[in-house]
Symmetry: C2
Subunit: 423 residues, 2 copies
């Protein structure tokens, strides 16, 4: 099935907003085994829209149009769709009532120009939008089925996932259920993970599982797209494959599906009734910022301390008995972790100290990262060296620090070689 996407709107065409709707839609279709063949971006302009619809209508089996369903005069999708299909625009009474009750529920009167959002091409099939006034719809133009979706990201997401994707799958004759299983890892590069997972797909019958990746440094997402007749069938097919992925990637899997590394760390600390103190230098509060704003963090994050000159830690943490002015050692790093615990009263302290290289930023600019995790009973230590410029070092250190804490809390080895470090 040949699928095209048409994104409309002056804000997207002029680059005022980055077109994340396109990448979202395209990824979502890839996740269920469908592929986008062509993308078009046009402005709020009658002639361009008509051209774009007509071109796509000749080439594609299915077309998703995004945007242009709003109440203002520059929202032209319904009108141009009707023109391209050679049918009239008619008022959809049902949608009009829905909109009126939408406003009533919010104690507001519907402005008259919203009525325009209920004007649909005569042959259109309505596609529900449970969270907005923009009415989705589908109709045939030329040889293609067109699906019109709202530009507001959360409305698009819901409509695409709940309504458009199932219709596309039905048209493509695909099995009824498609499920996406995701693993988030840190420390192994995409090609390394690809090599580690060679052949795992074969554990499922007849190629019903597809393996894919999405790298966004410093994390890597490993994706399994599973096709089955229903959810039970999907689970049966997925089971041996996900068990094998967990076995092969082992300690490097830090979260699955909608989980995040910081969420896993916070949940584990909460479960253990623990509290946390953080000490940072060059990461400057980035580690605290990942955890601190999450719901529930108010019971866990006791204190975060950032200094850029580490000798200031003496003052900030009431440190006595050793000096931070000299080169860092394992001993001084661990002592800072003990001092952070003692000073804040937290059960756990995570310390991430960084010695940056001298000189200007460049691609081989690096930093040496000194990490210690202290509890009342013990202290864990990890040293690493990351290259790739100031920003790369900073992002890597934040991830490594949080991941060491995750490993410590889950009783996994804190020291395990990663691909991104220079030793």
């Amino acid at each position: 099935m040949r699928i095209e996407i048409i994104c409309t709107g002056d804000e997207v065409l002029t680059g005022k907003i980055v077109n994340t709707n396109f990448s979202y839609m395209s990824q979502k279709l890839e996740d269920v085994g469908l592929s986008v063949h062509w993308g078009t971006t046009v402005g709020d302009d009658r002639e361009s829209l008509l051209d774009a619809f007509r071109h796509a209508a000749q080439r594609a089996d299915a077309v998703i149009v995004n945007g242009g369903l709003g109440p203002t005069v520059d929202d032209l999708s319904q009108e141009v769709a009707a023109q391209a299909a050679g049918v009239d625009l008619v008022l959809n009474e049902e949608w009009l009532e829905k909109m009126e009750s939408f406003f009533t529920k919010r104690s507001r009167i519907m402005p008259p120009n919203n009525r325009k959002q209920a004007m649909l091409p005569a042959t259109a099939e309505v596609i529900d939008n449970p969270i907005g006034t923009a009415c989705g719809f589908a109709l045939d133009i030329g040889r293609a089925r067109f699906f019109f979706t709202p530009g507001v990201p959360r409305e698009l997401r819901r409509m695409l996932e709940e309504q458009v994707v199932p219709r596309l799958l039905a048209r493509g004759g695909a099995p009824a259920t498609i499920h996406l299983k995701r693993f988030h890892s840190y420390g192994l590069g995409e090609s390394h993970v690809d090599a580690l997972l060679t052949g795992v797909g074969d554990l499922a019958p007849d190629g019903s599982i597809k393996l894919g990746f999405r790298a966004h440094y410093p994390q890597l997402e490993t994706k399994l797209t599973v096709r089955g007749t229903d959810m039970d069938d999907v689970r049966r097919r997925l089971e041996p494959v996900q068990a094998e992925v967990r076995k092969r990637l082992g300690n490097f899997i830090m979260a699955e599906d909608d989980q995040t590394l910081e969420g896993v760390v916070l949940a584990e600390l909460t479960r253990q009734g623990a509290t946390l103190a953080l000490v940072e230098t060059f990461t400057s509060g980035q580690i605290a910022a990942r955890v601190g704003h999450l719901p529930g963090a108010e019971h866990v994050l006791r204190a975060g301390v950032t200094v850029r000159d580490r000798t200031a830690l003496h003052k900030a943490l009431d440190i006595q008995g050793f000096t931070l002015a000299d080169d860092l050692t394992q001993e001084t790093t661990e002592s800072v972790a003990h001092a952070a615990r003692a000073h804040t009263g937290a059960t756990h302290a995570l310390v991430v100290l960084i010695d940056l290289d001298e000189g200007a930023d460049r691609i081989d600019f690096g930093g040496t990262i000194w990490i210690a995790i202290a509890t009342a009973e013990e202290v864990a230590f990890r040293r690493s060296r990351i290259l790739g410029g100031r920003e790369w070092v900073r992002l890597g250190a934040v991830e490594l620090g949080l991941d060491c804490l995750r490993r410590y809390l889950q009783r996994l080895p804190v020291v395990e070689r990663i691909d991104f470090e220079k030793t």
Copy 2:
């Protein structure tokens, strides 16, 4: 002049990467008074590329193609360009030598497949890429001039700004010099600023200045695009208009052009020989993270302290003599600022404490923000209330806190009503 952009590559088409090159190019052209009329996205696929080139060649005056100039087999731009133009691919000896010296300088041998990057359509005009091996080029296909650019963002940026834009402007018969002047503000919404600036463009002769905006909450960018015969002419036209913009937006302008709010704050602290202590609650290190990693911050940022339960501040800052367990007041907020100075020895302390609403996140979820800035001589205070959900409150509080410090350091009023607050 009708301009189109064609973005190529499977990673962009499948949404694996978000297409920021498109929005960057489109904005950059808008900034110099040119407009993109149509955008196309296709994969690394010979047939799609040829179709895309041929369609654009019929409609456009100029086409920018992005991507597909690399050394691997899926990089097809030169080959398909030659096919579409009906000319042969020939080896460009000059570019080959350039690439070889590029590798030699880095003490590496050029891999044989890089030779492919020097194969250009016979009629191509070479466009230099001073920082990479992908050779840019221009040639005519149909009625349009095509410009081929690399997919690597930093290479694209340099080539577009230095080489492609001047060629487009020359083709469009535009005056020789176009300049973009930018003002960054916080606290006034786009429509408010638009109203405040009514008529400023008329201060320049014959519509040579165009006013535009780019909102990215919490900041707003106000842009003046100036056309002139040369840079002196541009400066002459811009002078009265920028003076008027500065006058009308006044204290709300926190930075201009490539400056950032955090950069302005750091520069001002550095100039005054000052040092800084930061105290945060719900913003959880976000304020420290904006400043702390900047070059030079190691001499200024004395300490950043994050707590989620503000009673933990007693311990963290050695506070005695008042309690933080009760509701916040101006007095307790100011006392925390004094304590932060005393504890860290910094000349300036910025304290941003937040009382979050109770309950689940929702669109009218809000927070009350208590800000104090202390020096040895005095203390400044600001209270605000921001609605819009947890994330909105957090972003707004970070910006408001930093902007209050900027105002204090520049001797401007710290308290001035902003559009984003509820009073």
